[in-house]
Symmetry: C2
Subunit: 270 residues, 2 copies
């Protein structure tokens, strides 16, 4: 890079902060994690670091030592008790062009205030923005998130807490920022995420808990009628835990027994 400006102001390079050539900015070339901070501890940190590492491997990004990321997090939350920690790891700064070189990954850690106490029963809607299908990227919490941005931009009503997203073939995949579970005939079902969606930390914990409790589970293709015929529907998210859907564009659901049981089990986890 020969010169650069941001908002019209000339920038000396390299900037002290994030390089304007960081591939996270140029191409969304990286991954992120959103971690709940509770009583001074980063919750499910090992799970988050493991997923981060898997995502980087699938994107063929040389991962920084995970101890270094853990140390970044520890340093940033040293004086904090409650909050949300966002970790971003990108392929690093490089010149023009898609081809990765021998960059050193960039590690960014951000601390946010905790989410406000939320209702455990929420209203949701169907989104019209669809998810593209690409098995190569499915499951990874990468930085290419325009579909989620456009989906959340579909509504302003604060009474609607989350949106259900389908992929371009009409399969139901997830919420805009959560995974989705339904209960049908006593079986706990969630989308298998083979073509899109993010493999959520809370999603996996719920599946594990269900197995431990002897609840039958299935990961498969989900279709809109699997939702309308469901007896229970809920979203999962590492920060917000389990949120029961009691209204989906007018279709009403109860907070069912399985949802309640899983909520309790999740909350009692370390």
């Amino acid at each position: 890079m020969l010169a650069a400006s941001i908002n019209g102001v000339a920038v000396d390079s390299p900037a002290t902060g994030l390089s304007l050539e960081d591939r996270g900015l140029s191409y969304g070339d990286g991954v992120f994690e959103t971690i709940s901070l509770r009583a001074g501890a980063a919750r499910f940190l090992a799970d988050h670091l493991a997923r981060l590492s898997q995502g980087l491997e699938r994107l063929e990004i040389e991962a920084p030592p995970l101890e270094l990321v853990a140390a970044d997090v520890a340093e940033l939350i040293r004086h904090a008790r409650e909050g949300i920690v966002k970790v971003i790891v990108t392929r690093g700064a490089a010149g023009r062009g898609y081809r990765p070189g021998s960059q050193v990954a960039t590690r960014i850690v951000l601390l946010y205030p905790p989410v406000e106490r939320e209702e455990k029963a929420i209203s949701a809607r169907w989104c019209s923005t669809r998810l593209g299908r690409n098995a190569r990227l499915a499951g990874i919490k990468h930085l290419n998130r325009l579909e989620q941005v456009l989906a959340q931009n579909e509504w302003n009503d604060p009474a609607i807490a989350e949106g259900v997203m389908m992929d371009t073939e009409g399969e139901v995949v997830c919420g805009t920022a959560s995974n989705l579970f339904v209960v049908n005939d006593g079986v706990l079902i969630t989308a298998d995420l083979r073509f899109s969606g993010v493999r959520g930390i809370m999603r996996q914990r719920v599946l594990n808990i269900a197995a431990r409790l002897g609840i039958g589970t299935r990961e498969c293709s989900l279709w809109p009628n699997d939702l309308t015929s469901a007896s229970e529907v809920f979203f999962t998210n590492a920060v917000r835990g389990i949120r029961a859907v009691t209204d989906l564009d007018g279709r009403k659901f109860e907070i069912g027994p399985m949802t309640s049981r899983l909520m309790q089990a999740v909350e009692s986890e370390a």
Copy 2:
């Protein structure tokens, strides 16, 4: 944001350069342009600004005044003669969460040295990385580019200059960083980009020139056998112009008469 670090070093916020909360970094929430600088002038600048503006509109990003972007470019290239100008416009900096707020767009302009003089006849390969299909994002030069990154990471052989990409259904769409044209039975054909790919500035200029020269053109679905049966194949790109493919994984092509004629016409344009 309460606190932040980059590569383990605490950062005072707001940073003087790019905010670590810029949505371009968080979600690839923005668009970019790559503009050729020739003899001190940004080539096809009006076309680039028009596409930038259309992309922002489709992503529901409030565009900065285009005169401001043009002024950023003019200021940065004031003392330069030859080079490549990269313009990035993102939705701006915001807190956590996909939902767009009332951010002010971030404008970044970067100046790079010109590309080295390149062969006008190149070897190419088929990429195994596929493009996901999403009509909502098709054609936009947005910042969600992991598919192109992974595709270019498939090969290291410097003798291979570009890769041909298919979408997940097997339609041929484009090069990793260029559009693709074939000549079949005297007709100039390019992918219609209804589900993926970027609507290139040079692609449109070539279509316009062809129409002016009385060459029949078609934008439609392209399939692998349209390439193998083609008499001519070439890539287009605003910086590199037209590059004829003379070898595609062993299948040989000549630099045909239509390609030569279009190369000449493109080079003679302002």
